[in-house]
Structure formats: structure tokens, C-alpha cells
């Protein structure tokens, strides 16, 4: 099947119907109905998908370069059938890319590709690259910020893992260096990344980030189930000490029942806020556990929740 999808709100709709009977003199209908039928069958043939039918091609001409109208379809086995017009457009502007090169939504990426080229070499282009081709987040950092420089601060300079300052080398820790932290192996993206984004002359360093899951325990009250009774008042009993070494850079959350078990995981940044927050203030902000965990919560689902390398446990039972 052909892959043109017409959107009636933005394209002219093509209502195709036979005009054979109207084009012929009236007496043909009465005198030669079979001839009329013959011509109608012929035009029907040309409008179909059979060999040599060309009406469809002529209609497609209007949309063959309209990226928004070109859509991949799915065959009977569930495999995508790529739109050859979209691939032809990509052949012009994609430098070897095909619609199948993109993880998702090749039409949108085709539209954005010129912007992508213009921003190549920037942090934004790296993030766009990983989203477009691998549906992955990436953290772009510049190791030059972690180079040990003698006497760069009063009281002496530090070097080593504790200070995150390292002696300059001929690879990662030098001025012309870019470090990518993402969840996929370097070999999977290196060639394409170098071709499309990486500024020549810079060392390309890569870390694979393994995303883990940590949990904190928060409980409201000792005798009632706050998740079962959403309006139960929130009680923060104590703060726990750090659980483990840094596990992840991306925020994850998990809520569990019953009440005496774990509840959610957030980032240390968020929890640090609670560390110095009086319970009354916490109550002022959230009121109930239900509010706190709701998507509208100011601390659980907005920009205040920042990435962190550390997780903390809070457990009311430790009181």
C-alpha cells in the first residue's frame, strides 16, 4: 500500500469519483451502457494499485515532499514499511541516513535535521543526537573543569578522587576533551556520533551510566495507614544516614504499600531540603501524604527535584 496520509485539517482533500457518465452525451447511458461501464472500469483500474495505474502517482505529487504527510506504515507481521518518499527526502539532507536510522518519529527528525546540523558541536546537539537515534538521555561534561591546577585556590589545591581534580593527561583530563555519560555502550554510538556531532580535535571520552534504584522509607504515623487514608496528617519522624555509594544520576521513584514498608525514592537534593525543614513547614506545603506523592507535588514532580549521586533512607521505625 501507499503511504500518503492526508490530514484534512491541513491538506486539500481529494474526493475521487468517476465523471465518465457525466462527460459522455446522455444517449450513451441509454444506448451504450456497456461502453460507459467499460470506461468506468478502466478509470477504476487507473485509480487502483494495479500495474501501470498512475492516477495515484499524480495525486501523490502534491505531497511527495511534504514531510508531515509522509508516514511509515506497518506490514502484516508488524514490521515497519518505510516511506520511500521520506527516505528520498532524507537522502538529500541526511547524509546517508534513512528513516529507519532514527529511534522514533523520523518525520519530526527530518524536519529538525537542519537545526541539528547548525547546532552540531554544542551540548544541545549531543542531547538531541542521543534522543533522536537511541532515545537515551546524555550528560555532557567538560573534564577540563576537573584538571588539577597548582595553587588555584587559597590554602592549596587538591588532587585525586576526593577533590575530583586530576593531573592533566593526553586523554580525558585536558583542555580539548568532552565526556559523555549515557546508558549505552560507547561502541554502539561512537562512529555515528563522531560523524554527526563530535568536534574534530577534541578527545571523546565516554562513561556508561548504570541506572540503579534506591528506596527511602517514609511513614505517616504509627497506627494508621496514610496511603489508605489519604487525608492522614504527614509526620516526618527522622532522617536516616546515607545508604550507599552513588548509584544513579537520573531520578527514579517508587511507591509501595503497606504502610510500614518503603515508600518512594527521590534524590538527595530533595531530601536535603527535608533535613532542615520543620515538620510544620512540611505540613504547610503538603498537608497529607496523598498530596506529597501526587504528580502536582512541588517537590516530587517539578524542577526542584534535581539529579543526584546519592540516595538516603528515612525510616520512621528507627525512632
Amino acid at each position: 500500500m501507499y503511504n500518503i496520509e492526508l490530514n484534512p485539517s491541513r491538506n486539500h482533500i481529494s474526493f475521487h469519483n468517476s465523471k465518465v457518465a457525466e462527460a459522455l452525451p446522455d444517449f450513451y447511458d441509454s444506448e451504450y451502457p456497456l461502453f460507459v461501464k467499460f470506461l468506468e472500469t478502466y478509470y477504476d483500474y487507473m485509480d487502483g494499485d494495479a500495474n501501470g495505474s498512475f492516477s495515484r502517482l499524480i495525486r501523490d505529487l502534491f505531497h511527495s515532499r511534504d514531510i508531515s504527510s509522509l508516514k511509515s506504515s506497518i506490514d502484516n507481521s508488524g514490521n515497519p514499511i518505510h516511506n520511500e518518499f521520506l527516505d528520498s527526502v532524507l537522502e538529500e539532507i541526511g547524509d546517508g541516513l534513512e528513516s529507519s536510522s532514527f529511534y522514533n518519529n523520523p518525520r519530526m527528525m527530518t524536519r529538525l535535521i537542519a537545526d541539528f546540523y547548525r547546532s552540531k558541536g554544542t551540548q544541545i546537539s549531543a542531547e538531541q543526537f542521543f534522543k533522536a537515534f537511541y532515545n537515551e538521555d546524555v550528560e555532557v561534561t567538560y573534564p577540563k573543569k576537573n584538571i588539577f591546577i597548582l595553587n588555584d585556590k587559597l590554602g592549596g589545591s587538591l588532587v585525586g578522587p576526593d577533590s575530583l581534580h586530576y593531573i592533566q593527561d593526553d586523554k580525558r583530563y585536558q583542555i580539548f576533551s568532552v565526556l559523555l555519560k549515557t546508558g549505552i555502550p560507547f561502541n554502539d554510538y561512537e562512529e555515528l556520533y563522531r560523524k554527526m556531532v563530535h568536534p574534530a580535535g577534541f578527545h571523546l571520552a565516554a562513561d556508561v551510566v548504570v541506572q540503579g534504584l534506591a528506596e527511602i522509607n517514609v511513614r505517616a504515623g504509627l497506627t494508621t495507614d496514610p496511603l489508605a487514608v489519604a487525608e492522614a496528617p504527614l509526620q516526618l519522624v527522622a532522617l536516616a544516614s546515607p545508604l550507599a555509594a552513588p548509584l544513579f544520576t537520573l531520578l527514579t521513584m517508587k511507591s509501595t504499600v503497606p504502610v510500614d514498608s518503603t515508600f518512594a525514592v527521590s534524590s538527595a537534593k530533595t531530601l536535603e531540603q527535608y533535613q532542615y525543614m520543620p515538620l510544620s513547614r512540611l505540613n504547610d506545603i503538603h498537608g497529607t501524604v496523598a498530596n506529597w506523592v501526587s504528580p502536582a507535588s512541588v517537590t516530587m514532580d517539578n524542577d526542584n527535584v534535581l539529579m543526584s549521586d546519592t540516595s538516603y533512607r528515612e525510616d520512621a521505625d528507627e525512632e
Binding site: N51, F54, E91, G121, F176, H198, G201
Partner: protein
Amino acid sequence: MTIKNSDLDFVNIKQSLIEHFGQSEAFSDYDFDGSGLSSILDVLAYNTHINALTANMAINESFLGSAQIRSSVLAHAAALGYTTKSRTSSSALVTLTIDALVGEDVLTLPAGHSFSGDVDELSFTFTNREQSTAFKLNDKFVFENVRIYEGVSKTSTFVFSGEDNAYVIADKNIDTSQMTVKVFSNFNTSQYINYINIENAVTINEDSKVYIIKEISNGYFELFFSDGNVLGQMPTVGSKIQVEYLRTRGPESNGVTSFTAELLNGTRPISTEVISNSAGGSEKESLTQIKRNAPRAFTAQQRLVTADDYENLIKSKFSSHISDVVAWGGQDNIPPEFGKVFVSLNFNGDVDEPTKLATKELISDNLTSNLSIMSIDTKFVDPVDTYLELACTFNIDAAKTVSPEAMQVAVKNVIRSHFDTTLETFDAVFRRSNLLKDIDDLDTAILNSRIDVKGQQRVSIETNLQKDYTFNFPYALAAPDNDDHIITTSIFKYQGLNVYIKNKIGSDVLQIFDLDGVIREKNIGNYIPSTGVVFLSALAVDNIGAMVLKVSVVPANTSTIRPLRNYIINLDDDASYARAVIDLQSTRVLL
């Protein structure tokens, strides 16, 4: 690429029509092979065929990759912001000397002075495009390094009539890179303003004076100016537009080695010394070149960030002198040099050293300095030739009346042709099976073939001087073998003897042997299989004049030889051979 959306075969279309009518209830019992109906179907199928052909063509012309008509390709390239290249003039560098007259201290050579030169009995006219001035020295005026261009100077004049107008220069053989556009405020003044090609504009603001030149569908060229809003200043209506250009014969005039200058002012002879022969003349960009270059230029977006950007932009702007370009970041160089981009240019065969130097300077001045990331420097390095020695053996059918000797020559020609067409450029990979297929397909008399592959590097030896030599092969080498030598060199003089170097059997140590196989030096170096390095330590070759030492190696993978960076794979014709073996195709009883 061709998009093929419908079957264009007449017979198939007619058959398809018959099937379609047969499915209709009204015509299911008709005999479509009957003469009357068959004739009608012929007409309908023919009509369908013609229309389908037109529709297919229209679809194919809609895309750069599938378009066949030059005007379509030009339009698609223009949509990508790519200006196709016109013919380019061949140019040469000359130094001119003129005897000074009494009391004359300064002499000016006006632009447009003519020089004539011949190639293959064809005569060409060259002119200088810029005025030069020289001061008297030893009673002579010497104009050094004057660049002269082949072509006939032409002038077209227009009246500027408004922002929407384009001015057609009715000439298909223009070199647009040598075009000058002068804008006179009216027809009565000699004062003018030079407008520059937008391709050469570094910045554009409201005061910029730029023009756009592009090829149009009939092969002529069209000149545009800004509308006064986006692309700088628009000439005032009524201005005189004077376009001076060269009508060139392109590549025909490459290779002129001597020039005769016309007399200065009709009386004074000019002696001409050629610094660099004429080179760089080229035809208009072909459809294939446009289809390849336009998308690449689009990806670069006039920026030099990735290594690919360097390759794409240099290729698209300097292709008249350069056949291929490779670029890599300093991080990938050995040793690494961060903050640098390495560029290697493979020049056309007729380009001499001064022109190569001038081209590199042009790239630095006009391209990399303006478009690359700040603090990233460009470093040019020469291509490195690496050679292959191919020992080809093939069986020929004894029943076929072919001459083994003639077949050997034919196979060697196939090998040579394979290298000419698919190798001898950057990034070109040698794949043994592809070459074997070419050989097998040469003649039905060839039953099978095999090729033993060796790699080879060369170095000029400084004789009578003890010196270290390092050979970097762009691929891994075979590990030491207990039966065969992996490293062998050509023969050279050492301590009065004819000797050569081989690795010790089963070892990476290199030794010097005389022609009788006696070891003359137990350790003259070693080789590292994984890095492809062959190291000769303190080698002192006897003084027999200039010599080139060839080091032959067995690659780790003889099926695929993939060069690195700026290496180019060539064939060593002298060290390669093709040998025919007559195959009786009889089954033997005993081995």
C-alpha cells in the same frame, strides 16, 4: 536511485487490464483476446503506459537522488543552498621580466595582458586578472608569481531595473570564480563599486555589496542582487551593471608548460618564466558530482565542526585541483595532537608543487580560518602511499582455445583497472574477493583464481649513514610464523655485500641475510604485528647513490586491507604478477 511506483512494461499493463476487466461482473465472460476488444485494450494499455511513464518521471524528478534532468538537479541543489560549480579556468604561475627604459623606475602591467601556450597542438590564451606593479632592479622590472588564467575575456552590460529581476549571461562556458561585477550609478560615470560573489562574503550586513550567480536550466547563468533587505545593498534602479568574465575551455588547457607573452604596449618584449604549469581547469559540475556534493554541503551548513565537515566543504569548493580529501581530528592522530584537525589532499595528477602550496593557503585563508571552531587549527599532511604486491594464479580451461600468455596480460590489466577504478584514493578498501570476481568474470576460460597478498612500504635510504627507520603500515601484520617469513625487504648493499632483511622464523626479530642465506646481522630491528610497525635500528647502507628500500609484509588479514587516515593503497606493478595454469579438468586416480 530511481523511485519506481508503477510497472511501465506495456505487456504487463495490458495483462493487468485484462485481469481487472475480468474481475468485473459485466465483462467476466468476454474474450479479451478477440481482435476488436484486444485492439481497444492495446489503445488503453498504451495510454496507461504513456501516462504512467510521465507520472513516474515527475515523481523521480521531484528528488535530488532520482532526478535525471539537469535543471531538476540544479533546482534541488539550490533548495539545499548549494551553488553548482561552473567550468573553471586552468591557471599557471609565471614570473615576467621586462627591460627598463632610461629614466623609468616603476612599471605597471595592466590586467588582461595576453599570454599564449599550447597543449597537444591546441593553442590557448591566458590573461592576468589583476594589475601588477614592479620597481626597477638591475635595469629590469621583475613581476614575480603572476597568476594567469586561460580564457577569453568577455563583458556583459545590463541596466538594473529592480529587485526582482535576474540578468542572464548567455554563455555556458563561464568561469564564475573569475567573474567581476561592477556597478556604476549611471551610464555617464566611470566611478563604480565592485560587488562580490555571496559565496565569498564572510559577513553580510545592510552595507554588503553582494551578487548571486547560478546556472539555470538552459545552461546559461543568471545574476541576482539583494532586494535591499536581507542580502545587503541593492543597486539603485538605473545603475549600469557591468559583468566581466572568462569564457574558458576548462580542462583542455591543463598542462601548458611554456608561455609567450604579447608585447607590452605593442613594443616591449616580456620574458616569461613558468613557475607552475597550467592546471586546475575543469568542466562544469556533473550531475553525479552535484548529487554527491550538495547533500554533503548541506550537512556542513557552512561550519567546520566534525571531520566530515572539513572533507565536504573542501571537496565542494576546491574540486578543480583536488581529487579527494580526508580529514581527521587530532585526537585520532598518532601521536595525538588535540586542538588540531589534520587534512590530507590528494591533488589531481597535473597539479605541481607551487599550485599545491597555493591551494593549501587558499583553504586556510578562505575556509578553515573563517568557518572552523576558534582555537582549532588546521594542519595539512601529505597522503602516504602504501603498496600491495599481488601474486595471482589462475587456472584456464585447456579445452578453450586461448593463449595463456594473452590471458596473463588480460588478467594483469584487470588488476590494474581494478586499482584505477576502486582504489588509489582515500578510504578505499582492498577486498580480495571483489578482485577475484573481476578476474573470474573476465573470460569463460578462467576456471578459478587465487591471489596471495603482500603489503609494501618504501623509504628513501640515506646511504653511508647509520640511521633508524620506522615503517608504519596502516593495518595489522601477521604474527611470526614457524614456516614462512612475514617481513622481507628489497636487496641493498651492506658491508660490501648484496643483502636483504627478513624476520627470524618464528620471531619478530629482523635479521640481515646475504644472497646465500647466511646471516650477516643477527638483530637489525623488530616488528610489532598488532600495530603494523616495522623498525630498523642503526641501519647503515653502503653508498651506491640514491636508493629506495622496499619492505614487504604479510598482513594479518589478506582478504581485506583497510587503510587508515591519509594512506592510499596503490599497486606495485613490478612486484605483482598473474600466472596461468592449464587445467585439464581430468579427474586423477592418484594425488
